[in-house]
């Protein structure tokens, strides 16, 4: 009895990184990504905080900060689920099938894609935070800024997985629609666009269990000068598990059929 040959002769990490790099490049060259993924959240943030006036000086500052976090989270969320739209497109072009007849192990393709998705979360995130600091004069400590970036970047992972799950499961067109639907629904209910304080009571308590709300809360906690709460972390981990399983199941199903 011979032991089964190892799946690849190449060391795994380099090809994963090369694939992620290829995907990051492709995403950054997409005008749709630059306009809707990055410019739009910045524009919405500036509109929401400068039009109509959000009360007195104190209230204004508070809203400038909390909306900054909300819109940064919204931008990151959009880029994260957008990863799936790219996957569905590649599937429809036969590119995923083509990758399956290269020595790249299929898992590395998914991981590379997730990694690329994590990187493409950064432009929107950084752009909104920059607009907060430079245009709206938001002042935070250096450690707070760094914590904001790291937490909102890492916290986007469940949404990348949700997008990947949709991308492997659905057709290219459906994925686009479903991803935008997920994005809008989660963003609005999660209080990224308007503060949950404006919601009726029942919706406000529901919001606390939605992933986008807890995702943004990572950032809101930082701006309040505290660490993210245990409940926030627990709810996010639960969603990470749900979306992660969804991505794995979708991927396995597509490997059988695609």
């Amino acid at each position: 009895m011979r032991k089964p040959a190892p799946p690849a002769l190449l060391p795994a990490p380099p090809i994963l990184l090369r694939y992620a790099l290829l995907e990051v490049r492709r995403t950054l060259r997409d005008p749709g990504f630059v306009i809707f993924g990055t410019a739009m959240p910045v524009l919405m943030y500036l509109l929401f905080t400068n039009v109509g006036g959000a009360g007195g000086a104190d209230g204004g500052t508070y809203w400038a900060i909390s909306s900054m976090v909300g819109m940064a989270a919204y931008g990151a969320l959009g880029s994260a689920v957008g990863t799936g739209t790219g996957i569905a497109e590649d599937k429809s072009l036969g590119w995923l099938r083509q990758l399956r007849i290269t020595p790249i192990p299929p898992r590395q393709v998914v991981l590379g894609r997730a990694l690329a998705g994590s990187v493409t979360v950064l432009p929107a995130l950084l752009a909104v935070l920059t607009a907060g600091g430079l245009v709206n004069g938001v002042r935070l400590g250096a450690g707070q800024w760094a914590a904001l970036v790291v937490l909102l970047w890492a916290g986007a992972l469940p949404f990348t997985l949700l997008g990947i799950g949709n991308g492997y499961r659905l057709s290219a067109q459906t994925t686009g629609v479903v991803n935008v639907g997920c994005l809008m629904g989660m963003a609005v209910v999660g209080g990224l666009w308007f503060p949950v304080e404006l919601f009726p009571g029942w919706l406000r308590s529901l919001a606390g269990y939605t992933p986008a709300n807890r995702f943004a809360d990572l950032g809101w906690a930082v701006t309040r000068g505290s660490a993210p709460g245990a409940l926030t972390v627990a709810v996010l981990l639960a969603w990470l598990f749900v979306f992660g399983s969804y991505a794995v199941v979708s991927y396995r199903r597509s490997a059988r059929t695609a």
């Binding site: 040959a5 190449l10 490049r25 083509q98 007849i101 290269t102």
Partner: protein, 333 residues
């Protein structure tokens, strides 16, 4: 790897079947392709070519039988970078340049071709820095070819590689393919173009309704259905009338035919044509008998004896004749 695997054929199918629902796409296929051979897979749409290729590449699992590449399961050969393929309907991804795409694919293989060489083989040197999604259909096809070769695979599988190419591009493509095969690589391609199979393959495998209906050199396959095509005008006697409605043509041919019939009292009934020596199959079209024969001399002599040599023609059967005969037979079966 053991010695046995070193000498194993590039491709071997043993009793391979695959059904999709009630449709048996591939049925009991047995096939061996030694290393270094160039093989054409010929068949009509839906004959099972693409399914056979998907099974070969390990993209699909057979319901029965085994597929082996270089003596092992397809997945192992793919993981070892010994296989490259140009899939049907594959379209290149967007927002990458030709060079970026080919470089990336090459980097996934343990023994890739130099990128410049892969680009040159596919005729893409001048297009290397263009975006893949900005290319024409024929240029896109060449990108897919470069992707198939980039890894320097020992076995190249091409599913209808020249479908979108014009005549000149097709010729250039086959020159590159030849060059790659001449390095000792194995090539399997499927095509609709019979002349491509005829001119570029060492061997042709004809697939119909999921079965191998013929397998051999082009000459051998032409031979199986009758090496020559003998045709002549039928006399307009009652016995020769067929369901064919070529009445006008028959009328035109009548004058010439009268004399011979009067003198010889000839009667070759259309339904008896296949009884003539050498004849493999017979058909009447537009008042003309078309006989496929594997002994054209004997057939012609017999016809002469019967006095039936009106506008007689003898031409070697083409691969197309053979292909049509083979696949039509399978329909009737």
């Amino acid at each position: 790897m053991t010695h046995m695997e070193d000498s194993a054929p590039a491709v071997s199918f043993d009793g391979v079947s695959k059904a999709f629902g009630a449709v048996l796409a591939v049925s009991g296929v047995g096939l061996g392709i030694p290393r270094g051979e160039t093989v054409a897979l010929l068949g009509r749409n839906g004959a099972g070519k693409s399914t056979a290729i998907a099974l070969l590449l390990g993209l699909d699992e057979p319901d029965a039988g085994t597929v082996r590449l270089f003596g092992g399961p397809p997945a192992r050969a793919v993981a070892a970078g010994r296989v490259g393929a140009m899939l049907q309907d594959g379209r290149p991804i967007r927002r990458v340049t030709v060079r970026e795409l080919v470089t990336f694919v090459a980097s996934a293989f343990p023994r890739p071709l130099p990128v410049a060489e892969a680009l040159a083989l596919a005729g893409l040197t001048d297009l290397a820095d263009r975006r893949v999604d900005k290319l024409s259909g024929g240029q896109t096809q060449r990108v897919r070819f470069a992707v198939a070769l980039a890894g320097g695979p020992e076995l190249v599988v091409l599913d209808e590689p020249t479908a979108a190419l014009d005549v000149e591009a097709r010729r250039a493509f086959w020159a590159s393919m030849r060059a790659y095969a001449d390095r000792g690589n194995t090539v399997l391609f499927s095509t609709h173009y019979l002349e491509e199979a005829d001119s570029y393959a060492d061997r042709i495998v004809v697939l119909d309704h999921g079965r191998v209906v013929a397998d051999g050199t082009s000459e051998l396959i032409k031979g199986t259905v009758g090496g020559h095509l003998v045709s002549f005008d039928l006399a307009p006697a009652a016995g020769l009338r067929t369901e064919d409605t070529g009445d006008t043509e028959n009328a035109v041919n009548t004058e010439g035919a009268e004399g011979a019939q009067g003198a010889g009292g000839l009667l070759v009934r259309a339904e008896d044509l296949h009884l003539l020596p050498g004849v493999v199959s017979a058909e009447v079209r537009g008042g003309r008998a078309l006989l496929r024969t594997d002994d054209s001399d004997a057939t012609v002599l017999a016809l002469a004896r019967l006095g039936a040599v009106r506008r007689l023609e003898v031409v070697p059967a083409t691969l197309e004749d053979a292909f049509l005969a083979l696949t039509r037979e399978a329909v009737a079966r």
